[in-house]
Symmetry: D2
Subunit: 243 residues, 4 copies
């Protein structure tokens, strides 16, 4: 637990290059904004983006990653299935995965959930208030009873996901909707955290409490050195047919 | 609830045609053995097999199916991805799915779970005892504290599945292993039940209590007429920006 | 499943006798309003109130009850511990329990939950919108994507309950809060449903969709005839010390 | 997380004073055996026993306790209700609680669970094998695929507990039974771990892997410094009645 957690931020990195508003907010990309913060609070950081070879997620990079953060929106379909399968296996082997905002529709999240991960949405710059419904969880260390974001995109229920193993946040939206906005899942040896906020046209990833939650999630999702299960044909541990 | 539940049994139907021992046990196939029983207890039955066009799972057949039972073993890879996607969507729309024994490795189950669904196994004709750990659940109506099967294949933990929404049975094996052998999952509007017993070389699908569990599961998994969620862009229900 | 479900509505029945506003809404008591509706939709109804001997919950009454509905608010402390223990045992033996609104603080609910069941509240006649987060569940049969109640008391998170086995509804409140407003729990052989709406000064128990949810919950919570577990000293099923 | 976790081991401490066999195994009591090990691996230890004033669990002691371990068997009824209520509140406020073996029937565990916590049992010195069904969980750090205990008391299903939030271990017993032998629960701000092994007539609390699990559980159950929820009357965060 004393070793430094190695976090890789993966970003689609298209909006920032195509849209002035987004570029102004995140001049070097959302991945860079997140990595800068996380580096300051003690993580060993890497970044990777869609247009790099193998989307920047080579076997070497993943082997040096304890926790992978994923942000994508408009180009989910460009992510190669082979890389998705590679990331999925890494998660099942113990790598943590933090899925942010519009990455609810990423191939990796849909693959790990087994559902459509569809939802309602509205881009109207409205208020979101994320209520903590799981105090005592490491992901909300240092967070108050709720987080308020002045302007965000709305996501509304029904959110087509498996019931979360742990429901951490529920969001209230100005327009009348609610959303399960902080959800954990345990899959194989790995831990997954879906966290809703972060539309690219708002400065959400500069919000201190949003950053604090992501920081906490990175610590929480880091792998524990437990035994990797064995599978396949297995000899009996006790004598058979003795009756 | 008074209408008759329509159940389709899907079977790979290869062992029965290739192996004398299996053919002797299930001369018309595992699907036929299950359908015969289920018809007698009041279901409206269909069967479908791998080698039929579209594996027998045309849109028409699925539209007339409330609950789909799935048995497969040696030819999972021959099931077309397109049909798997069709069945997955049907489950998310509300169709029940009963996954039996070696179908833990079927494409449809792995897709819905998001994990490898791998496990330990041994074919040694040993005793299995399935203990009920969820009394009061409709799936164990009429079942005692445990079910005993004199000879079965062993499946052992770790079983790489998401933690079940409801754990119904845990198996004890003569050789020293345990297994989560009855597991429910809720996905979208649909219900899934994984039930372990049923290796093709044993007469497990003539065991009265095994059949009773499958019967109960078919009733439990039948769709409830609830509202199908809507997704996508959504207008506010309350006035925005009024502050 | 074809037999008629026997439901007993328990009501504290004090507000209706002491407060004109409440009496005007529920002249014969909340229990009577609920029982009238439920009788019409096919249940076999009984009522019981705090000031009856044994609070109307004699062993005889409970033995003839499949599902017990509980409404209480200002006199929780007057309910005798002995009756609470009796009801708890009945639930563990398979009786369904529907806990309404302010009964979150009833002795029976707190006893079954093991937590304080505390929450935030505000009586300001504001709008509540209950979003369905579990489509496909029998409790929301015939219910749309949400239920709107024009005026209700607010309950806000954190609601100090165990994580629900199934989260069915999440409420949005005009004043900025959210609440897990429909929660199921499985305890022993019994099923419990907590349903938030129903402050005594509003006509909530005449709202067609609120009534429909309670009706659905009564069907869902009715006991299944499964084996009652045995406890205590137990002889081995397999020979010991054979190694 | 860098501060030393303060653990208090509570023991009934009667068997050790009344029974030679137990005294020979645990000359200074089970609490002392556990505390000795835990001190060596870095915890700040205290012990407390039934016959001390306030059972050794004064407000002062509990205020200095991050994690409380509980072992009891024959004198559960002698624990005062007032102390049980005090411990329960501490758990809801964030203190960790490790419940061992026969403490399944302790007042504190039954109070926190809301069920009878009853089970089957047999004292026959048989083999127990605890299988890990949740690899990747901090509680199984350093543990292999299973733990074997040569001689233990048998506990069998049905174990009348709420479905665990996380099921970590499932036990296989020589005599043919299974048991959910490692279960976590989140209640309020606190974490609870029930761990089955530890009958007083066997040297179970010298078993290196049993001790390792308890050590891991103490680290896992230590409180996280999150916000304590507020309850009661609450002012609106948004303007009401604006429509």
């Amino acid at each position: 637990m004393s070793t430094i957690v190695r976090v890789t931020v993966w970003n689609e990195f298209r909006h920032e290059q195509e849209n002035d508003k987004v570029r102004n907010l995140y001049p070097q990309g959302i991945h860079h904004a997140l990595a800068s913060y996380l580096e300051k609070v003690g993580f060993n950081m890497k970044t990777a983006t869609l247009d790099q070879p193998e989307h920047g997620l080579t076997t070497e990079v993943l082997d040096q990653t304890d926790v992978l953060i994923w942000w994508g929106h408009k180009a989910h379909h460009e992510v190669q299935d082979e890389i998705v399968a590679r990331v999925q296996q890494k998660v099942l082997d113990g790598m943590g995965l933090i899925v942010l905002h519009s990455a609810h529709f990423s191939k990796i999240f849909k693959t790990l959930m087994g559902t459509t991960c569809d939802l309602k949405w509205r881009e109207a710059g409205e208020k979101e208030r994320l209520w903590v419904v799981r105090p005592g969880h490491p992901i909300v260390e240092g967070i108050g009873e709720y987080i308020e974001i002045v302007k965000e995109e709305m996501y509304g229920e029904f959110f087509d996901i498996p019931q979360p193993d742990e429901l951490i946040f529920v969001s209230w939206f100005e327009g009348g909707e609610v959303f399960r906005s902080g959800c954990t899942y345990y899959r194989g040896n790995g831990r997954i955290f879906y966290f809703r906020p972060g539309h690219e046209t708002y400065p959400t990833y500069y919000h201190p409490q949003v950053l604090k939650v992501i920081e906490n999630a990175c610590r929480w999702a880091a792998p524990v050195s437990t035994t990797k299960p064995t599978f396949g044909n297995y000899k009996p541990l006790e004598p058979l047919h003795r009756l």
